[in-house]
């Protein structure tokens, strides 16, 4: 979609398209001349007679239609084969075996294990039953860490956990990079990655594809965060860590959480003016869905802290948990599925950032919580955690010792549900996947050869025929 737009609007052209167009225009006279010579040569009859085709050529030349026609043929050739231009730079193309999906909607919910969400008796029956019957359930889909933020960052950049992102970055601190390890892993600690660390958003922009982050509640309280590209000041406390209840000044309250908005943790995004157009409040999605031309190729949707199931009860008085998530999905998924972009070539991915299970043991003096931190797919810890497992953290709450034991660095099993016309209803895949697999899959869907971070991990499997089971 965006390639054709690029020809109409210079402003929206990618550098690749611009350079190719410039080359075509620059060499057009020579190409016309060459083509004309060939035509004349091939059609000249013995004895100097001119073939009928040459008469046509003369007519076209006379009317200047020839030149226009030639350019039109070139342009149509470029736009028809989506990715042809990008082939020129070697960044994106359509991969054999992957459906021609051009519009992806990722909805991320919070902190539920697979069993909680998809087993019978789920508090989200619309997701666990209604939508499950329409799409593909990935039973072995895993988060990549605890707590939230490291998972979101993995989804869009392939960067592994570090201690700050694992702790959700209560201070919106710069990532202090000291080096680069295998698979493009930035070595260091902190929250906001330097501009050299790229994301799927950057890849899409480079490929001439559009993307947006739709963040529910962002900007409700402009003193906490702006209405677009909303994040705390660098190195300042993140006041969005906690949901804000309604007040006279902020009648709707504000349950936006920066830590659930992955785009805000990359200078390669937040330093660009386009961030204000690309990371917006969720309420704009409804309008954007009305036309294919206004629907981004990639939409990342984050409900507020109530609707993503994080809180219960919520700051606005809602029930929260999977109940609120269910209501959210009942509203938004049909809107997406009815959109022309989804109907044409859409895919919806609904997943969770991390699992939420563990065991709790209580003695008279202390409470011990054990979290598995399970992972799949050969996930690596990355260069920054330096974890020693089981890891133990202790704190006092209301006079009682709370011990948190974490057995490994993974994010535990969450499951994921995918919807598309390219997926046969009722599909179940037991293939192990994680957030890095999701990133690799998205890159493949959009024809991007480069795999960021651990999406490029050797042997990592992307969504394949086990998922895309449709005709």
């Amino acid at each position: 979609m965006q390639q054709t737009l690029a020809f109409r609007s210079k402003k929206r052209c990618s550098p690749v398209i611009r350079s190719f167009r410039t080359a075509v225009l620059r060499h057009a006279p020579f190409m016309i001349s060459l083509l004309r010579s060939v035509l004349i040569h091939r059609n000249r009859m013995p004895h100097g007679q001119i073939h009928r085709a040459s008469l046509v050529e003369m007519f076209l030349r006379k009317t200047r239609l020839f030149h226009l026609l030639l350019l039109l043929v070139i342009a149509l050739g470029l736009s028809a084969a989506s990715g042809t231009l990008l082939f020129a730079k070697g960044k994106a193309h359509h991969k054999a075996g992957i459906p021609r999906i051009r519009h992806v909607f990722v909805i991320v919910l919070e902190n539920k294990d697979y069993d909680q969400t998809f087993d019978p008796g789920s508090d989200a029956p619309y997701l666990a039953e209604t939508l499950r019957a329409k799409g593909a359930l990935l039973t072995q889909y895993y988060g990549t860490g605890h707590n939230s933020l490291d998972n979101y960052i993995a989804m869009v950049s392939g960067q592994a956990n570090n201690r700050a992102t694992s702790a959700d970055c209560g201070t919106y601190a710069e990532f202090q990079q000291t080096g680069t390890a295998d698979d493009g892993q930035a070595v260091g600690e902190g929250c906001v990655y330097p501009a050299n660390v790229k994301t799927l958003a950057n890849q899409l922009t480079d490929a001439g594809l559009s993307w947006k982050g739709y963040m529910e509640d962002m900007g409700n309280d402009p003193a906490r965060e702006s209405a677009t590209c909303g994040h705390p000041p660098l190195n300042a406390p993140d006041l969005t860590q906690r949901a804000e209840a309604p007040s006279t000044a902020v009648p709707e309250g504000d349950m936006y959480a920066t830590r659930h908005d992955p785009f805000m943790y990359f200078h390669s995004i937040i330093d660009e003016p386009a961030c204000a157009k690309n990371v917006v409040n969720l309420h704009t999605l409804k309008t954007d869905l009305q036309k294919i031309a206004t629907t981004p190729n990639f939409s990342f949707i984050t409900p507020n802290l109530c609707n993503d199931g994080h809180d219960s009860p919520c700051a606005n008085g809602g029930p929260g948990g999977l109940k609120s998530s269910n209501v959210f999905l009942e509203k938004w998924v049909p809107l997406i599925m009815e959109s022309p972009a989804y109907k044409k070539d859409g895919l919806i991915v609904i997943t969770f950032d991390e699992g939420g299970s563990g065991t709790i043991t209580r003695t008279p003096l202390e409470t011990t919580v054990t979290i598995a931190g399970a992972s799949c797919c050969g996930q690596q810890e990355g260069p920054n955690l330096h974890g020693k497992y089981p890891d133990e953290q202790r704190r006092i709450s209301h006079g009682r010792l709370i011990v948190k034991r974490t057995l490994s660095f993974g994010g535990d099993r969450t499951g994921a549900l995918l919807l598309s016309k390219y997926i046969r209803p009722g599909t179940v895949s037991n293939t192990p996947y994680n957030h890095y697999s999701l990133l690799k899959s998205l890159e493949e869907i959009f024809g991007i050869d480069e795999h960021l971070g651990y999406a490029g991990q050797k042997g990592l499997v992307a969504f394949g025929p086990d998922v895309f089971t449709g005709d």
């Binding site: 919070e110 902190n111 539920k112 605890h146 707590n147 939230s148 702790a167 959700d168 970055c169 209560g170 201070t171 402009p222 003193a223 965060e225 702006s226 909303g230 705390p232 000041p233 300042a236 406390p237 993140d238 006041l239 860590q241 906690r242 949901a243 209840a245 309604p246 007040s247 006279t248 000044a249 902020v250 830590r259 802290l305 199931g309 994080h310 809180d311 219960s312 009860p313 919520c314 700051a315 008085g317 929260g320 948990g321 999977l322 950032d353 991390e354 939420g356 299970s357 709790i360 409470t367 919580v369 979290i371 704190r395 006092i396 709450s397 209301h398 006079g399 009682r400 709370i402 948190k404």
Partner: protein, 438 residues
């Protein structure tokens, strides 16, 4: 989902710096009222009228202004909202009394110290106690404390609802019932205006008349600029129109330092994303374990305990949660430097004393608490034994132990006081007492 890195900004027990500008005045609530014919409290707005000049108030708000300063609405005839919430003292108390006296003869002692009404009213969120959904997260993540609601215990979600309390409290304005108050409104100097705003027949329905009076008060408090003037040196500094001295800047660093004062974890002091100036509170609840104050006559009863969120004045489901006992809402620190009464029970009378309490509560508990029956220092003695575990011993500087070095020395305290003085508004700066700096 977790807030570990910045637990200080989220932990319920970390209301670290509730330098409690002080506490609610009389009875149950904050609100308004009080007795003593305070200087400057005339029938007409003092500083409020001055600073409100030129600001356009709605007819309801203009009427609310007259009600706010009207002493004839009390049983004593000598107490208005402005008596305790004196505009000349940033809508806080005009004296250093732990609680104010009210009632028909102005002899009934209140229960809590009077807070300032400046800055916070528009931003008070409705009372909530948001929790993580998952039981695992509830245990492993930083505790989430309740937040919001008007008064020290957050039991009112609107200003108009809160205004009813002082009207009818027997230790504040002391109206016996709705009809009595409506009668006083009907005979007020502004009765014709009241009718013009709310209808000619408004006094035919006493309950409605009282509700409208509360609504008018609310509108005055929300609309009038005198409740949010932003004229302090700190505000001018934020706007680049003033400089802070080296001492003030050092005080601010001590105030912010999460390993030292850690004050800013609750008393937020950073500009908003839209440039909004901070109001120095996050409206969360915190149990600080302030010593029992025997100057409050109610405390003579050993069975009387003011436990904030869980009573005695709050009586809803939240008050039944034992983890809420002892928690009070974090006040703003704007204009706290002019106060001479601090914390919800007015236990301290100078800013220096309040600051010292924070940093020495645990390192030198014998300075703050009496010895118990066993001869040992009885920390957190204003709470029943079973609720003392709710007191914050997690966040700096409340996480130290007896004999350890306090995070601040006297010079540090001087510097923090210097910083807090920059938060005093222009119109009240001359009220700055000397007691609070000693």
């Amino acid at each position: 989902m977790e807030h570990r890195t910045h637990a200080r900004a989220l932990h319920p027990h970390r209301r670290t710096w509730a330098i409690a500008s002080a506490c609610i005045a009389a009875v149950c609530c904050t609100a308004v009222v009080l007795l003593i014919a305070a200087p400057g409290v005339q029938g007409k707005a003092g500083a409020a009228a001055d600073s409100a000049a030129g600001s356009a108030l709605s007819p309801e708000a203009e009427l609310g202004r007259q009600i706010f300063f009207d002493r004839s609405l009390s049983a004593s005839g000598r107490m208005a909202c402005a008596t305790c919430h004196d505009p000349h003292f940033a809508y806080g108390p005009p004296n250093g009394k732990a609680v104010q006296d009210g009632g028909p003869a102005l002899k009934s002692p209140g229960y809590r110290a009077v807070p300032s009404l400046r800055y916070v009213l528009n931003y008070v969120p409705v009372w909530t106690h948001v929790r993580d959904t998952n039981p695992i997260e509830q245990l492993t993540e930083a505790d989430t404390s309740p937040a919001g609601g008007y008064t020290w215990d957050g039991r009112y979600n609107t200003l108009s609802a809160q205004a009813m309390l002082p009207f009818f409290s027997p230790v504040e304005m002391g109206n016996g019932n709705v009809a009595e108050l409506a009668g006083r409104l009907k005979h007020a100097a502004y009765a014709d205006t009241f009718r013009a705003v709310f209808g000619k027949q408004i006094f035919d329905n006493p309950a409605q008349a009282v509700q409208k009076a509360a609504h008018a008060l609310e509108q005055f408090e929300l609309q009038d600029k005198s409740f949010h003037p932003y004229t302090s040196k700190f505000d001018r500094w934020l706007d680049g129109k003033a400089s802070l001295t080296a001492q003030e800047l050092r005080g601010m660093r001590l105030f912010d330092d999460p390993d030292k004062g850690n004050c800013a974890s609750c008393h937020l002091d950073q500009k908003g994303a839209n440039g909004a100036h901070p109001i120095f509170t996050d409206f969360q609840f915190e149990a600080l374990g302030v010593p029992r104050n025997n100057a409050i006559s109610w405390n003579a009863d050993p069975h009387y305990d003011d436990m904030g969120l869980c009573g005695p004045f709050r009586n809803d489901a939240a008050s039944k949660d034992q983890t809420n006992c002892g928690l009070f809402r974090t006040p703003t620190l704007r204009n706290t430097a002019i106060r001479t009464v601090f914390f919800h029970n007015g236990a301290f009378h100078s800013l220096r004393e309040a600051l010292r309490f924070y940093v020495e509560r645990d390192t030198n508990p014998e300075k703050w608490y009496p010895a118990g029956p066993d001869g040992k220092v009885e920390k957190f003695n204003d709470l029943p034994l079973r609720y003392r575990r709710n007191v914050d011993t997690f966040d700096s500087p409340l996480n130290l132990h007896r004999g350890q070095k306090p995070v601040w020395n006297e010079q540090d305290i001087d510097d923090v006081i210097a910083f807090l003085k920059t938060l005093v508004d222009e119109d009240v700066v001359n009220k700055e007492g000397t007691a609070n700096a000693r």
